[in-house]
Assembly symmetry: C2
Homo-oligomer: 236 residues x 2
DNA sequence: TGGAATGCGAGAGCGGTGCTCTCATTTTCA
DNA sequence: TGAAAATGAGAGCACCGCTCTCGCATTCCA
């Protein structure tokens, strides 16, 4: 018995997109562990074996969902940044990026878990596929750092910790924004630590690492943490 | 065909312990997603149905593994603290707790993922079972905070964020250590943020959230982050 | 001490999963 | 138009969580 109608008519790209869409839906509903290719196939009214024409494996679908999640977060952050004047203060932009990240994480906890939680099964998301989408938010942050940083105090330890990373970042910065600002190891190191503070706080809230209902006012807690993160970068 | 010999002889407690042990082994090897009751049963040379006499479900085993992971981390931190004089400075003790947490996380990434990563499947670890073991490290930290904190500056936002939490903690502190030190909302809030910074940094390393091989010297990066976390608490 | 109650392990079985293989059909294109 | 490629379905394999029943061993207790 052949499936209803029109399935065959949809072209490959549309079908791949629909598989991703249904996958996102299942991910949001059941979480990564509950994601099943067979269930996706059922929603598509296709035989489970047929979806393997479009997705090589479950891990392949998971990888696509990770990329999609990175992109969704990136879009959300960019949209938030777009609501604010182009040359608003870097501190304000930092706060907006942090707040948008928290918002998106709370609205999409399973997607957030996919990218900022533990790597799902035993499998390792291939960096060459998640890379470009995965660094969008960090890229938005890095461009703020030079202006944000009060002074370029850097320690020998900062330089040791990051090695040639500042120069690498510097080159990319130069290419993308054309800015000629200098990123020293201290600023970059503190910026990365500040971001770890933000994501650590978001994870604490989303994953209830302090226990459920321990923090009565998470928005206030988060704002305070973001202020601390900012102070970390601006007052070395 | 009945299993080899002596299985029946082991009493219930020993068998439960062995199930946990094999579970830990599988967890460390294959990760939480690869944990299978049937595979544990095979290692025990038992029928899969028989292990259900000792473990109600896979989630039940997972919950026990979470508790065990919390305890192992707590033991590791306590052991590290024990190598240092009883009245060493709170800053030194903070550093030891942070370093021990990182050590343990790197040595046991899957266990770390279980407790500081994303909540595993769709299931929610019952707080009444993970609670006592889950707060051991935090308890070690909290007792350091009053002495660590330079001044008790607290903002209205700190008080709003934490509500009655300081009093609750205070009462528990008084019971356990008998100390009469006061924890204000500012100190506690900054202490929790500092801990989020530490776990955020550990997660960044263990889960490769900055990308693989981005940070050339993680020990140096981590030490710098811990110094920032300490500064956050001591210099409000 | 002997019978009853309980504990325990094994096996079969249900519905689910990922994935592969084959086969028939459709579409594409030279 | 006819060969080649793409597509979908179905059967099937091995694995999973979990349940049920059955037989045997142990324990308890009258």
């Amino acid at each position: 018995m052949t499936a209803a109608g029109g399935i065959r008519a949809r072209n490959r790209a549309a079908l791949e997109a629909e598989i991703l869409r249904i996958g996102q839906q299942h991910l949001a509903t059941y979480g990564a562990a509950g994601l099943s290719l067979r269930a996706v196939a059922r929603d598509l009214e296709m035989a489970s074996s047929a979806v393997y024409r479009y997705v090589a494996s479950r891990d392949e679908l998971l990888t696509r969902l990770i990329v999609a999640a990175y992109d969704a977060l990136g879009d959300h952050v960019d949209a938030a940044l777009a609501t604010v004047p182009r040359r608003s203060s870097p501190a304000r932009r930092f706060r907006i990026i942090a707040a948008a990240t928290r918002e998106w994480a709370l609205a999409n906890p399973h997607e957030y878990a996919l990218i900022y939680g533990s790597p799902v099964p035993g499998y390792h998301a291939p960096a060459e596929r998640t890379g470009p989408a995965g660094t969008r938010v960090q890229a938005r942050l890095v461009v703020l750092l030079p202006e944000l940083s009060g002074g370029r105090r850097e320690t020998a330890r900062d330089r040791r910790a990051l090695g040639h990373l500042p120069e690498t970042i510097q080159a990319e910065l130069h290419l993308s924004s054309g800015g000629d600002q200098l990123i020293d190891a201290g600023t970059l190191r503190r910026g990365m630590t500040a971001w770890a503070l933000v994501t650590g706080t978001v994870s604490a809230e989303v994953f209830e690492q302090f226990g459920a209902d321990t923090i009565p006012d998470w928005p206030a807690f988060f704002d305070a943490a973001v202020d601390d993160a900012l102070a970390l970068v601006t007052n070395p």
